[in-house]
């Protein structure tokens, strides 16, 4: 379905098996989407269709869920996924300026991935670390009390 070529045949096999175990069980939607996201780094359209078909739910429910939660993405994520918190605490302590700086440094808009597939930039809320605000996460690492000027320094750690 127009997905980019990758060594994903095995991944598809794995997810299809997982979906197959939950035939007709609509409550399996979110766990299956989580598994897909972990496996592929995003939720491919073909997998969404498969989930709808096997769970017996409308495709709009699958797509609606994927677009509702910021944990899921429709596009492949980069090697380093930068999540900038823009929740209330981070927002008032200057998160928008941090996000702006990331966009400038990476040459992409929030929600996108750099052409070399290295960095993805995401705006999320809330990471649950308001005491460290503004907070960002790069993959599993947390960076506290971010400032725009700290952005290049953070990026240097992920090459």
């Amino acid at each position: 379905m127009g997905e980019q070529a990758c060594a994903c045949e095995e991944k598809y096999k794995e997810i299809e098996e997982a979906i197959g175990e939950y035939k007709g069980d609509r409550s399996a939607l979110i766990p299956l989407l989580q598994k897909t996201q972990r496996l592929f780094g995003y939720v491919p359209r073909a997998v969404q269709v498969k989930i709808a078909e096997e769970l017996g739910i409308p495709l709009t429910d699958v797509y609606g869920t994927v677009t509702f939660y910021s944990f899921f993405s429709l596009k492949p994520k980069g090697k380093y996924n930068i999540q900038c918190c823009n929740g209330t605490a981070c927002y008032v302590r200057g998160a928008p300026k941090v996000i702006e700086r990331f966009e400038k440094e990476l040459g992409i808009k929030a929600g996108d991935t750099t052409d070399d597939g290295k960095y993805s930039l995401q705006v999320v809320r809330c990471l649950g670390a308001c005491g460290l605000s503004p907070t960002i996460m790069v993959n599993q690492d947390t960076h506290a009390r971010m400032k725009p000027d700290k952005v290049p320094e953070v990026l240097k750690k992920y090459v």
Partner: protein
Amino acid sequence: MALVTLTIDGKKVEIEEGATVLEAARKAGIDIPTLCFLEDINEIGACRMCVVEVKGTKALQAACVYPVSNGLEVHTNTPLVRASRRLTLELLLSNHPYECPTCIRNLNCELQALAEKLGIREVRVPGIREEFKVDDSTPSIVRDPNKCILCRRCVAVCEQIQGIKAVAPMNRGFKSVVTTAFQQPMADVSCVLCGQCTLVCPVGALYEHDDIDKVWKALADPDKHVIVQTAPATRVTVGEMFGMEPGTISTGKMVAALRRLGFNPVFDTDFAADLTILEEGSELIERLEHGGKLPLITSCSPGWIKFIEHFYPDLLDHLSTCKSPQQMFGAIAKTYYAQKVGVDPSKIVVVSIMPCTAKKFECRRPEMNSSGFQDVDYVLTTREFGRMVKQAGIDWNSLPEEEYDDPLGVSTGAGAIFGATGGVMEAALRTAYELVTGKTLERLDYNEVRGLEGIKEATVDFDGLQVKVAVAHTLSNARKILDRVKAGEVNYHFIEIMACPGGCLGGGGQPIPTNTEIRKKRMAAIYEVDKNMPLRKSHENPAVKMLYEEFLGKPLSHKSHELLHTHYTPRPKY
């Protein structure tokens, strides 16, 4: 069920346990404004228009979902309630285009009416507005998310009544939008174009694709011979466009209005409905006698046809090959009628007045060109027809009652009842009984297939031959019946399915509002039309008999197959 007593605005109200504050208030004659609420279908307390004060609770409560209890004290008109409702409405308006005078729902818009009711003269909050693309990809329905207030009524109808959910809310917060999966154009998803969403949309976010201007143009062209057909269900609903009571029979006025608009002659789809019965009844008898595919399923409702093509393509050979009455009419008009009056069919323009948005799609199907031309050129919904009459400055109330023209305006009561769920079945049984048994049917009314029950079943005695029939309306009921057929749990011979609740009288192109109460009144009117017809069996229609004698030969003849029958196309589910 136990009764509970509560107080609303100082008034004692007694109501069944389990009812909501909104229901109790309505019972007591107290008006609480609602916007997202749609009885039995969308009761989610999302829009917050119906908030009330409930003594002992901290926050305002949504009356449409708050359950009653003994001793509950509710206030519906306090400064806090008024301020909250106003602010909610202002916030909705801040994200709504101010295009009222040019909006298709001008003067029939629930948001507009509420703004007037609450006396909003100023919107204090300047809103951020997302810009969305208008989806006009189908010939039937236009979707304008810019006007959407996210009430979710369309989603609820599509999911619960039609069992499809072609649209649903996507994204969140300011970016929320009701749209299709992957935000594809409506034409590319398994929307069946029934238009039920256009009936329940409180604003102008979902509406019929308007073809009025094309029809005006044809009428103004001296080179064109513009004829019109009116669907069975339109005669009992069109009056509502002019403030008449639901259930008013307006056949004569509708004919008069069409003549004044310039249609000449004015014909009737009821004629083609009778013709459909001859063909479909014969098809049923043939399948019964020669071991054809059973159950035979009706094919009049284009929303239903698109549904089975998308969702049950493996059952397509159960469908009657008969075209719908609208399409039979078009094919006969541009062949038989053209010859009869000596008009070149290329000059004939066939316009349909239909209760249906899916008919606009049906007339453009590539199979519907049996005459060598597009058999039906333009479809106008009941709503568009009503607007056209208004545009022409015709005073509906002072119109006389006029008659349809011959020969394609001649019909029977059997044709008329096509407009109600169960009607096609009843009409078919009236004819099939007499054709099979050779006897005269004593009791014409098949009450067991009438009414608003979702699925109706009956066994009819054809002189020893027990014919098992079923009738379903709405596509969620169609799904239930098809699943049973697939599982081999039922052994019906004949099934009637209509996409819309109540059948065509509740069609997606009918006047707004359309609800259960209104559907019941329209249904009573349809059976009244039938009762008052001198002829009530399709095979007794003299114009249909003449058509067979002069042109078609007999039902299921070669010519009938060429002009009146069709085939179906499997379509993808996603």
